[in-house]
């Protein structure tokens, strides 16, 4: 079959081939050697699955219709058959869908004899359009019932209400249910007795706790669906999102408020982390308790804190640093300081871009993983490669709406599910997470996408050559910042000082003012404005970093729009008076004596000049030298000092003889390793195995040998694993013989000529050359596969 497929490709005009490649770009990564290779790849499971992932609900249903309408003998279908299944009402849409499928080569061949690519059946549900298998495939008695249409209708109509409910449920799909669920056991038994349902058992499966499975035959399903058509309810066009329409300006305003809030919370969170770094857990990530602490410090809930921690990490504002005891701590990075010095809009844009691109799903944090352990922030468990894609999808849907439209989250998810049901399945949490994160970061305001975020997402001049902003991401960044800046308050450079010693900055402070206030006041409240309180401790801190009382008076006078209250002036002067009342320093040793004259003599003694002694009180001298040196020098020039311990008691010492630490004697024996029984046998076996491998390899094709690392002149490329899989899948379909290279459990490399029978659950089952016995190969051990020439 592959030849036909390849031939069709070969006979395509260039434009059509180009269209295929454009629609399925993964086919040319890397560029295949020839059209045959392209054909193999286009029919491979991976590529087909990837292509299906991008299709909408309706197109997939039409593909299901194609599968259903295949003739039993030739496995061929036609456009007319498909349209008949889809129904008159949607014929036009269905025709377009068929075209979409044919362009993508999921359906191929002439319109009256269409093939469905084999891999489609392997990567989609075994029940196309939610219908079961035909009755004659399942059970002869059921087939007999289905053959007699009138009897079948009578039986279905006679079904008791419980049984009818079961039937309706199975008819809606999937057509398989469990037999022994208590609530439905009775009606299901009735249906099975009437042969409307057929018990199915999967060979080789362990018995299920909820009993055996039953399946609804296709004919019965179609009968039950006679109201909606055989394919069930069809939605040829995407559901329309309608939500409350907000005034775009108030949405922008709420969003801008939220950006300020997000930036503020980020800063508060990282400052809290800087004051008290959080340890990196052994399993990686940030502990729950630390996250709680940071959330509290930033005044947000834990989900919000988790989002910000992840985002700042992705933005490079947060990093690990060794804490001096060998363990790692989370700390703000140097990048954080740069970030802080930029404007609010810039800071927001940095966060938003990091969030859009990060492969993390913060919504998972705080949940429990499959082993019931909590997932921590920054831990590997919250890594989701699909997260950026999910975010783009969700925001793209919002971006396609009129500005100010705020659809409810469930409607948004519904549309995403229609657009790409296969991709959205399992991504619902990620989409919800994206929606919540966008609200938290102010990308949306009042539920609608804000104007500046629109710019950030789409780029400025959307003239088609760079729709994703891939080429010039900086432009959209700068434009978004400009747009946002117009919505944000201007920075202020003045303060209002009040009698209760609070200092109010009525707007976002200029960086210089923020720096000054950081030192000399305690923050009390932040948001649109900031409130600080001047306390004795904060004034002391200002003195500690070098301010003088006069500087502070001057600073308040200069910055304050209101008269400086007398209490503040008094507080500064009072603190200045007390500052430095106690002095502290370090010294290597001290010398004290009640005899002040004796100490004066020691200080004056020129011979002791090297000790650099300094008098800090009438009865105390200090020296930077260690005690032993001080004592020695004093004794040398004739004084009689005595050492004191920490408690003040005298310490009497006598000279000790110096010795190295003790160690035990060790005599080395000459090593003569003896090869004993089992080990010797192992070596011999390994040798023999290698021998066999070499002989086998001699017969195997070049690629297989290359995969085993046997040097072959002029051919060094090793076959890719995916390529090997594609070859095997095709071989299963074609029942062709293949050379398989693999590594056995001892690490030896072998090659075999086999005929693959099936491929599933990570194993390849294949008959050997003589067709005598069935071999099983673990797929991950297979190094190469080449069709026998």
């Amino acid at each position: 079959m592959a030849t036909t497929f390849a031939d069709q490709l070969r006979s395509l005009p260039d434009e059509a081939l180009g269209a295929l490649i454009q629609l399925r770009p993964d086919l040319v990564v890397p560029v295949p050697a020839d059209i045959s290779a392209l054909a193999v790849r286009a029919q491979s499971r991976n590529s087909v699955a990837r292509c299906l992932d991008g299709l909408d609900e309706f197109t997939l249903t039409v593909l299901d219709a194609a599968r259903l309408s295949r003739a039993a003998d030739t496995a061929l279908t036609s456009v007319d058959d498909i349209l008949q299944l889809a129904g008159e009402d949607v014929a036009e849409d269905a025709r377009a869908a068929i075209d979409r499928l044919r362009v993508r080569f999921l359906l191929h061949g002439p319109p009256e004899a269409l093939h469905v690519v084999g891999a489609v059946d392997e990567v989609t549900s075994p029940y196309p359009a939610g219908l079961g298998r035909p009755a004659d495939f399942l059970d002869p008695q059921a087939a007999a019932l289905c053959a007699d249409r009138a009897k079948l209708r009578r039986t279905v109509l006679a079904a008791p209400p419980g049984a009818r409910a079961v039937l309706d449920r199975l008819a809606a799909g999937p057509p398989v249910g469990a037999l022994n669920r208590d609530s439905v056991a009775e009606p299901v038994r009735w249906l099975v007795d009437q042969h409307v349902l057929v018990p199915v058992s999967e060979a080789g499966r362990a018995p299920r706790p909820d009993g055996e499975l039953v399946e609804l035959p296709r004919e019965v399903g179609m009968l039950l669906r006679r109201d909606t058509g055989p394919l069930g309810v069809l939605r040829p066009v995407a559901p329309v999102l309608d939500g409350p329409a907000r005034d775009p300006r108030s949405a922008d305003s709420a969003g801008a408020g939220q950006t300020m809030e997000a930036v503020r919370a980020t800063e508060a969170l990282l400052e809290a982390l800087a004051t008290e770094p959080a340890p990196v857990l052994r399993t990686g990530g940030l502990g729950v308790r630390d996250l709680k602490r940071l959330a509290k410090a930033a005044g947000i809930d834990e989900a919000g804190a988790a989002l910000l921690v992840e985002t700042t990490y992705a933005a490079g504002l947060l990093g690990e640093s060794e804490n001096g005891t060998g363990a790692d701590n989370f700390l703000p990075t140097g990048q954080y300081d740069l970030w802080r010095s930029t404007g609010i809009a810039h800071r927001w844009a940095a966060l938003a871009r990091a969030w859009l691109a990060m492969t993390r799903q913060p919504g998972l944090i705080g949940r429990r993983d499959e082993r019931d352990r909590p997932i921590n922030a920054l831990a590997p468990d919250a890594e989701r490669a699909g997260a950026p894609q999910a975010r783009r999808e969700a925001l793209a849907v919002l971006g396609d709406l009129d500005p100010g439209t705020a659809p409810p989250v469930d409607a948004l998810l519904g549309l995403l599910t229609w657009q790409a049901p296969r991709r959205s399945r399992g991504r619902e949490a990620a989409h919800r997470d994206a929606w919540a994160g966008a609200a938290m970061l102010g990308i949306t305001g009042l539920g609608a996408l804000t104007s500046y975020s629109r710019v950030l997402l789409t780029g400025p001049g959307d003239d088609g050559d760079d729709p994703l902003g891939v080429l010039h991401p900086e432009d959209s960044h700068a434009d978004a910042v400009r747009t946002l800046d117009q919505l944000l308050p201007e920075p202020v450079d003045h303060i209002l000082v009040q009698a209760d010693l609070t200092v109010v900055v009525p707007g976002p402070p200029e960086p210089e003012l923020a720096g000054e206030l950081d030192v000399l006041a305690e923050p009390e409240s932040a948001g649109g404005a900031s409130v600080f309180r001047v306390t004795p401790a904060s004034v002391r801190r200002a003195f500690d970093v070098g301010y003088q009382a006069a500087d502070l008076h001057d600073l308040f006078r200069r910055r304050s729009r209101t008269p400086v209250p007398q209490t503040l002036t008094y507080l500064i002067d009072d603190a200045a008076r007390r500052h430095g009342g106690l002095r502290s320093g370090s010294a290597g040793s001290y010398l004290r004596s009640d005899d002040e004259a004796l100490l004066a003599e020691v200080v004056a003694d020129k011979r002791l000049g090297t000790l650099e002694m300094r008098r800090i009180a009438p009865t105390v001298l200090v020296s930077p030298r260690p005690v032993a040196r001080l004592l020695g020098a004093l004794r040398e020039v004739g004084y009689a000092p005595v050492a004191e311990d920490a408690g003040g008691a005298t310490v009497l010492t006598r000279p000790k003889t110096r010795r190295a630490p003790s160690r035990s004697a060790r005599i080395a024996e000459p090593a003569a390793p003896l090869l004993t029984g089992p080990r010797l046998a192992g070596v011999v076996e390994q040798l023999r195995r290698g021998d066999v491998a070499t002989r086998a390899a001699r017969r195997a094709p070049v690629t297989v040998r290359a995969a085993h690392g046997q040097a072959i002149p002029g051919l060094t490329a090793v076959q890719q694993h995916t390529q090997a899989m594609a070859v095997l899948q095709q071989a299963v379909r074609d029942k062709a013989r293949v050379w398989v290279g693999y590594v056995d459990s001892h690490g030896a490399t072998l090659s075999r000529l086999v005929r693959p029978v099936s491929m599933s659950a990570g194993y390849l089952r294949a008959e050997d050359e003589r067709g005598e016995s069935l071999h099983t190969f673990a797929l991950h051990r297979i190094t190469a596969a080449v069709t026998e020439e």
Binding site: S253, Q258, G445, D500, G507
Partner: protein, 554 residues
């Protein structure tokens, strides 16, 4: 965007109102119903959005939409989306549950939201309060649990709207006797606010005439009234005021205290006698059931002792009026006041009332005394628990207090302290009588009367002076020591000198503090409350006071 409204919304749900902005008055009117005024210093007032405040406004008929609108309308900067969502969600929680009087089943809890009702009914905190389920939306409530249920629901974050109504009580004619005086406008507003809400708390500063608000509420209720006050002296003042301002006669007002046990149509009882116990049981509980009271007035609600809360939980069918200068409770039981007495019905910033001229403007001065070296040394070696006493009672303060008293030769001066030894020293030093806990009520009355008529110029008060003593002529208070850092005590003491003076003179409030000791720290903590109310504190050195007489402050 700058240069917009007068309001700045902060992330921690505080609202900053710039007072000098032209729109500030309109903004204040718009946000006052749902935000609580926390601080009102001279330039920027701080309001706070609390669940209690939002529920209060919801109870008064405001909805989330109007709250959000006012925030957005007056805000200078964009308001964060998350905060708006939070406000709407919080307000939405009030009134999902209602306490109703069902004609068939009696008191019931009805859920307007079935899920909420199911959620709270499962809560362990409500065990034993709820009875059988009437239908999906209604659960029986034991009549005796009305108060406790409201308390518990508030803790769960689903405050119930109490629509079960009140009993009228035994009718009794009471009228205000407005001969030569009328109720001030804000007092009338307070009474109207209370009456419309049924039960609740009126917050007015000391000296703003809370007693009159009580009297007017009684005249509106026209029913037998139980008045609960902090102590006997305060009770007698209530009685005097009621006799002067209403049609009530001597025979109609009873005193229920340690000394007398009278039960009359209007009965004034002290917290102390109600909470006194014999053999572990409260012996005077019968008072609550002695008559069919139509109104219960709680004076100084912020001091309401814990047992009274428990009794109040059983009085939910009666109208309750709480009067206080501050809702700040040092024990943090503001939520119990909300659920048991009722939401706040009226509140006015002190400075506004002062501007209207009803209370005397006050100048607050902190005088810092430098301890002598001996005193410093003895302070330095004192155990931690004794440090405040040593610092606060330093002898160095005595001459400073004397100098302050002498500075106001024509004024009535109160000297207030917390330590008896020190007060005795002061009494001797200033040659002034002392009122303390052990002073008999008769002696107190005599001294207060002498002070009121001006024959006694200086009076030394212990902690008993903190509350409910009406000495309107006192224009100067000197505080020498207090109960550690109590902010509420500071407010009460300032209240002593804030009564309006005949000639509109300025009141003076001095605090004498030992420099560089824990005394300064406590003083700072206590003053914070008043500084936040807009009273600028001045700090001076004792030397400035002791030096040559200063020119008169006008």
């Amino acid at each position: 965007m700058s240069g917009g409204g007068p309001l700045i919304v902060q992330s921690d749900k505080t609202l900053l109102l710039e007072v000098d902005h032209p729109d500030s008055q309109a903004c204040r009117m718009a946000i006052a119903p749902f935000a609580e005024l926390e601080r009102s210093p001279e330039h920027v007032h701080t309001y706070r959005l609390t669940p209690l405040g939002l529920w209060n406004s919801r109870a008064a008929g405001h909805d989330a939409e109007s709250v959000v609108d006012s925030l957005i309308k007056f805000s200078r900067y964009p308001v964060p989306h998350a905060l708006l969502v939070d406000v709407a969600e919080t307000m939405d929680r009030y009134g999902r549950l209602q306490l109703l009087n069902d004609p068939v089943h009696g008191l019931v809890l009805r859920g307007l939201d079935r899920i909420v009702l199911v959620e709270v009914a499962k809560s362990k905190k409500l065990a034993g309060m709820l009875g059988a389920k009437v239908d999906d939306d209604t659960i029986l409530v034991h009549g005796s649990e009305r108060g406790r249920l409201k308390q518990a629901l508030l803790k769960l974050g689903w405050p119930a709207e109490d629509l079960a109504g009140y009993v009228d009580g035994e009718a009794h004619p009471i009228e205000l006797r407005e001969d030569g005086w009328t109720l001030r406008s804000y007092q009338q507003e307070a009474v109207d606010g209370f009456w419309a809400g049924g039960s609740g708390v009126v917050v007015l500063p000391c000296g703003a005439g809370k007693t009159l608000v009580g009297a007017a509420a009684m005249a509106t209720a026209k029913a037998t009234t139980l008045i609960l006050v902090t102590n006997t002296v305060a009770g007698r003042q209530w009685k005097r005021e009621l006799l002067a301002r209403t049609t009530l006669t001597e025979d109609e007002i009873g005193e229920y205290s340690g000394e007398r046990k009278e039960i009359r149509p209007v009965t004034i009882a002290t917290y102390q006698v109600l909470t006194s116990r014999r053999g572990g049981a409260f012996t005077h509980l019968d008072l609550f059931g002695a008559r069919d009271w139509g109104l219960v007035v709680y004076d100084e609600v912020h001091l309401l002792p814990a047992p009274i809360f428990r009794f109040t939980a059983d009085l939910q069918a009666r109208r309750r009026l709480g009067l206080t200068a501050t809702l700040v409770r040092e024990d943090g039981r503001e939520g119990d006041v909300f659920s048991l007495i009722g939401p706040k019905r009226y509140d006015a910033p002190w400075k506004d009332i002062e501007a209207q001229g009803w209370i005397a403007p006050a100048e607050c001065v902190e005088v810092r005394v430098t301890l002598t070296d001996t005193e410093r040394m003895s302070y330095a070696v004192t155990e931690a628990e004794e440090r405040y006493r040593v610092a606060a009672t330093a002898r160095t303060k005595l001459p400073v207090v004397k100098a302050l008293v002498d500075k106001h030769p024509d004024e009535q001066v109160l000297v207030i302290g917390g330590f008896l030894d020190q007060l005795h020293e002061l009494g001797e030093f200033l040659d002034a009588p002392i009122v303390q806990g052990s002073t008999t009520n008769k002696e107190r009355e005599r001294l207060f009367d002498a002070f009121r008529d001006g024959s006694l110029r200086t009076l030394v008060l212990s902690k008993v002076g903190n509350f409910s003593i009406d000495l309107p002529e006192a224009a100067v208070a000197v505080q020498v020591s207090g109960t550690f850092g109590s902010r509420q005590e500071e407010a009460q003491r300032l209240g002593r000198v804030l009564r309006p003076k005949g000639d509109g003179r300025q009141a003076h409030f001095y605090t004498v503090v030992s420099r560089d000791t824990i005394d300064t720290d406590y003083a700072a903590h206590r003053q914070r409350f008043l500084a936040e109310q807009g009273y600028a504190y001045k700090i001076v050195d004792a030397d400035d006071v002791l030096g040559p007489p200063l020119p008169k402050i006008d």
